[in-house]
């Protein structure tokens, strides 16, 4: 097909007049059945490089993409052009996915987006037997490389798949973010003489700023004071989920329109927020880096980081989402020297201790287990198990097999022993990346040039688009007025306890504080573990304030408290005081039915749940029937204990159980 012929089809199908030269270069190779790795910046039009050939080819094109939001977005666009495109993902019901698979088998779908994890699904494997495949696309191909910023183990299998594809079947791998090292790694892994096309990665419509601060307060105050003065709408990236909550509550307190987003939200909420982002519903969305990759919104006008990312490549990837329309966009990075601790902890703690690896290996050697049983046998956190699992699979020590409908892990006979050198090499590379990120903060030269050099993009362009090359530097000044606003906010903000579940009358409760974010944690620790006596009165005041904020003037029939495992009468005495102040009667009849261990010795939610199941009883069930209950505890972690008591009291006829605690931990395991 000549370029002219292709552009006639382009005009008719995509309503676009012509290809860029760089696009045609790739498309021409793909149409000839070659394999191409395409590195081009966000907004270049990489998607067209596979969407166009896909509609020319007879059969179905399969696109592996790690981003559900991107799949949804692209499918919507293609559908509006009258091209039959669908996506299969874990957020759709199995029925919907099955329906799409059956359409694909009948050849009714031209472009099919799927997550790499789908390759683990046997229904999908069966379906591919009957599909007529014309091309395979690996989107976000940097996820293949451990040297990239977003390595995903599921992509390993996609590489293996691509290697097995027959000669002459076109393959396109694309990414917007690859250093030279990642580029070579990806090309080598895909092999088969893949051609690499690398475009120019600089973005001269960005205005890049770095704001040096010395506390979290300065960030909150500058944003509170200035966010509404920034043109357009945008995204604020924080380092943790808890921070997304705190920043969004702060803006709520200041009546700045915003919403929080993180990967822990349910699919419906995420879709609603993605749609709201597209329609500029809020001034800003506060998010972990889960949001925005691949979202095709042309006019994100600012991207602000309250926490320094792990490396310049992470940073480039995240700011790349701004200003796809080429219009000026503000890119602001806050930096407090303290902030390096988070990425450092992430890098250092990214891998569990070697003895935990050995524990997993030995367990898998003796038994064929699924993830859940493996967690129970080894007493490891889910995220730890996942890291270990991925490393052991990568090193060929274990593998994932499908037994019936469930996934299990088996030992690979005669495999090499664990290679810890690879971990160290990776850790050192990551620490070096972090130093480079800090060098970006400290540089007094062009920031865009710094990023381009880092990415291996050797352009001769002169940049005048940062606070080192002409733009005014941003500084933060704190006025007493703003300090007071922040103080008021802090004393009026209480974390929610999400414990509601079907079949139980327990409702979401409230904590007086996060454990580690204020002096609350320290006070609890003194009383519990350093013989500091009863919980101090300021905690009581804070808890009562949290109660009023959450439950207002609501009356409860009874106060109960969680019986202790080892910390004596602290919680009992505290509950008694609450009952006296609020004038709700207290009962001491909620007791242990059997000995339990302290929940904190269990690393994961499954074991925590097992530890407390059936562990409580109530001596005089008639006292409970038809009653509303305020349930007091000191620390909320996984919520397993409160949920278990909620079930018990529901069975005894309680109509409402409302938990209230002094502090909730951060980063508890998700069951």
């Amino acid at each position: 097909m000549t370029r002219q012929e292709a552009e006639t089809i382009l005009e008719r199908t995509f309503k676009l007049p012509k290809f860029y030269d760089e696009q045609w270069l790739t498309i021409d190779k793909i149409l000839k059945g070659e394999k191409v790795l395409l590195i081009e910046k966000t907004g270049f039009g990489k998607s067209l490089c596979f969407q166009f050939p896909a509609i020319v080819f007879k059969g179905t094109t399969v696109i592996f993409s790690p981003l559900i939001a991107l799949m949804r977005d692209q499918v919507k666009k293609l559908t509006s052009l009258g091209i039959s495109a669908k996506c299969i993902n874990s957020e759709q019901t199995p029925e919907v996915n099955t329906q799409i698979i059956s359409e694909a088998k009948q050849g009714q779908i031209k472009i099919l987006y799927i997550a790499p994890e789908r390759q683990e699904n046997s229904e999908w494997i069966e379906a591919t037997r009957q599909m007529n495949l014309s091309m395979v696309v690996v989107d976000e191909a940097h996820c293949i490389s451990v040297w990239g910023h977003d390595f995903r183990p599921a992509f390993k299998r996609i590489i293996n798949l691509v290697k097995l594809l027959p000669k002459g079947l076109p393959v396109l791998a694309t990414t917007a973010t690859a250093t030279k090292r990642v580029e070579l790694d990806v090309a080598e892994q895909i092999g088969n003489n893949i051609l690499t096309f690398r475009g120019n990665l600089m973005r001269d419509n960005f205005k890049l700023f770095v704001v040096k601060v010395s506390s979290e307060d300065e960030k909150l105050i500058w944003l509170g004071n200035n966010l509404n003065n920034l043109p357009g709408s945008g995204i604020i990236y924080t380092g943790t989920r808890v921070d997304t909550e705190i920043y969004s509550k702060w803006f709520e307190h200041l009546k700045i329109s915003s919403t929080a987003y993180n990967a822990g939200l349910d699919a419906d909420s995420r879709i609603a927020i993605e749609n709201g982002l597209m329609s500029n519903k809020w001034k800003c969305i506060i998010s972990t880096n889960a949001l925005g990759m691949g979202i095709d919104k042309p006019d994100i006008r600012f991207i602000i980081h309250t926490q320094i990312p792990q490396s310049p490549i992470h940073y480039y990837q995240e700011i790349g989402r701004a200003g796809r329309d080429g219009q000026p966009s503000n890119i602001i990075l806050f930096y407090n020297p303290e902030d390096r601790k988070l990425p450092e902890a992430f890098i250092e703690g990214g891998r569990p201790a070697i003895k935990k690896y050995e524990r997993v290996i030995n367990t898998v050697k003796s038994e064929l287990l699924g993830e859940r049983d493996l967690m129970k046998r080894t007493n490891l956190k889910q995220n730890q198990i996942r890291v270990i699992k991925a490393d052991l699979i990568e090193q060929g020590i274990i593998r994932e097999v499908i037994i019936g409908r469930s996934k299990k892990f088996e030992f690979v006979p005669n495999s090499q022993p664990l290679n810890t050198k690879a971990f160290e090499e990776l850790r050192n590379a990551k620490l070096e990346d972090l130093e480079n990120m800090i060098a970006y903060v400290e540089t007094d030269k062009s920031r865009m040039r710094f990023l381009c050099d880092y990415l291996g993009d050797n352009s001769n362009h002169t940049f005048n688009n940062c606070d080192n090359t002409g733009e005014k530097k941003i500084t933060v000044s704190i006025t007493p007025e703003w300090s007071e606003k922040l103080q008021n906010f802090r004393e009026d903000y209480f974390p929610e306890l999400e414990v509601e579940s079907n079949g139980s009358n327990i409702v979401n409760g409230v904590a007086a504080s996060y454990y580690g974010v204020s002096n609350v944690g320290a006070a609890l620790h003194r009383s519990k573990y350093e013989q500091g006596g009863d919980f101090p009165d300021f905690l009581l005041k804070l808890v009562l304030k949290a109660f009023r904020k959450k439950f207002g003037q609501e009356k409860f029939d009874l106060v109960l408290y969680v019986p202790p495992t080892s910390s004596g009468d602290l919680v009992k005495n505290f509950a008694v005081k609450i009952s006296q102040v609020l004038k709700f009667p207290i009962s001491h009849n909620l007791v242990k039915a059997r000995q339990t261990k302290e929940q904190k010795v269990f690393e994961n939610g499954y074991l925590k749940t097992d530890n407390v199941i059936g562990a409580f009883t109530f001596a005089t069930p008639n006292d409970i029937k038809g009653k509303s209950i305020l349930l007091v505890d000191d620390i909320f972690d996984s919520g397993a204990t409160l949920k278990e008591i909620g079930r018990l009291l529901t069975n005894f006829g309680a109509v409402k159980i409302a938990p209230i605690v002094i502090a909730r931990t951060v980063g508890g395991d998700i069951v």
Partner: protein, 390 residues
């Protein structure tokens, strides 16, 4: 000489496509492999990417065959998805051109019956060991199960691998006994290897310890079917150096398996039943199987005067391979009759029995002279073919 080499993973999709060409049968597929691999020194990938005219002209494939191959070629991309899932779960493919392919199987089944690929999981080295198969009914008697246990025990002691078919009764006993006596086993599946989930769970320890190899010759996702169970029997017999029958009824899988084995000239040992047992073991002995006692020792003295070929037992060469080598050696260019061959080979067989054997040998062809059948070695192009199988 043909040089065998281990399969490159990239070739997996091609082998899957070739091995399951619809209604081709093993012989046609193997002849094609011999042509491209042995004669033309092409990899399977190169063969698939030849143009269709070359398929027609050089490989003498007819329209239907070309169209089958064309269809198989369009399925390669789909096969890649399957193969990725297959490999990631630790399954392996051994094509007939690989040195890992069981030599015993190749020697016993020849081009006519040897499957183009073996799908396996577990310790492949087991395929290199001396092996015995123990076969018998699903609802076997106590005597048969005890015999099975004892034979498995003796085999395990002598480091012989026990091959069995994973059916109830004798098969299951053979496997469990071999495991119990710390022996090694091959499970030959009556289904695709990827559908054997529960088995991989139950024999997890034995598989990772290298004591069990699971093997299937069917499409990896094929569910269990009665036809596959029947088609599996020759594979069990083919993988074994010695075959023991614990118990057979007068019809069914064991019966037809043994009869088929005897027809192919295999030496098959059958447990001599007690006088009051109701089974067809004696019938098999009449048909040429060799009676053995509880310890698998040949009962040279016949209890039963109806055994037709009693003398053959002692005089038959100890293994078929050497008999075949002798057959090959006696020819000096001239076609021979069965009678002449008997003399030359110094066999005390009936001509009928030799006729049966000769018809099974793929390097022999029949020429009619007047009213008698004469045998000769196949032509030069044909003899080179067989090298993949010798």
């Amino acid at each position: 000489m043909v040089t065998l080499y281990k399969m490159k993973k990239e070739e997996a999709t091609y082998w899957i496509a070739l091995a399951h060409l619809p209604r081709w049968g093993h012989l046609k597929i193997n002849n094609l492999i011999i042509k491209f691999f042995h004669e033309n020194k092409l990899s399977i990938e190169e063969f698939f990417h030849l143009n269709e005219n070359t398929w027609r002209d050089q490989y003498q494939l007819d329209d239907k065959q070309v169209s089958d191959l064309r269809q198989a070629k369009t399925e390669l991309a789909s096969n890649a998805f399957l193969a990725e899932s297959f490999f990631s779960q630790g399954f392996e493919i051994i094509p007939i051109t690989s040195p890992e392919y069981s030599k015993t199987l190749k020697a016993n089944l020849k081009a006519a019956y040897a499957p183009a690929v073996l799908y396996v999981k577990g310790n492949k080295k087991i395929l290199e060991e001396k092996s015995i198969a123990i076969v018998g009914s699903r609802d076997a008697s106590e005597n048969a199960l005890k015999f099975t246990d004892n034979i498995a025990k003796l085999a395990s002691k002598e480091f012989k691998v026990v091959v069995s078919g994973f059916a109830k009764g004798v098969d299951k006993q053979a496997l469990d006994s071999a495991i119990n006596y710390k022996g090694q086993s091959v499970i030959v599946l009556p289904q695709g290897i990827m559908t054997f989930s529960s088995g991989f769970k139950n024999y997890y320890k034995q598989i990772i310890d290298g004591d069990v190899l699971v093997l299937s010759t069917f499409f990896p996702k094929a569910p269990w079917k009665a036809e596959l169970a029947m088609a599996r029997n020759p594979i069990i017999y083919g993988l074994a150096d010695e075959i023991y029958v614990a118990e057979s009824a007068e019809k069914g899988g064991t019966w037809s398996g043994v009869v088929d084995g005897l027809r192919k000239g295999r030496k098959i040992f059958v447990r001599k039943p007690e006088p009051n047992e109701k089974n067809a073991n004696n019938l098999l002995i009449q048909k040429g199987a060799i009676p053995v006692d509880f310890n698998g020792i040949e009962l040279t003295k016949s209890y039963d005067s109806t055994i037709a070929e009693k003398v053959s037992i002692v005089q038959e060469p100890t293994d078929n391979e050497s008999l075949e080598a002798k057959v090959r050696a006696v020819f000096n260019g001239r076609p021979l009759s069965a009678k002449e061959l008997l003399t030359k080979l110094n066999l005390t067989w009936t001509t009928q029995k030799l006729n049966r054997l000769l018809k099974e040998l793929d390097f022999i062809e029949v020429v009619k002279e007047k009213k008698t059948n004469l045998y000769k070695l196949k032509g030069p192009s044909d003899t080179t073919q067989t090298t993949l199988f010798v």
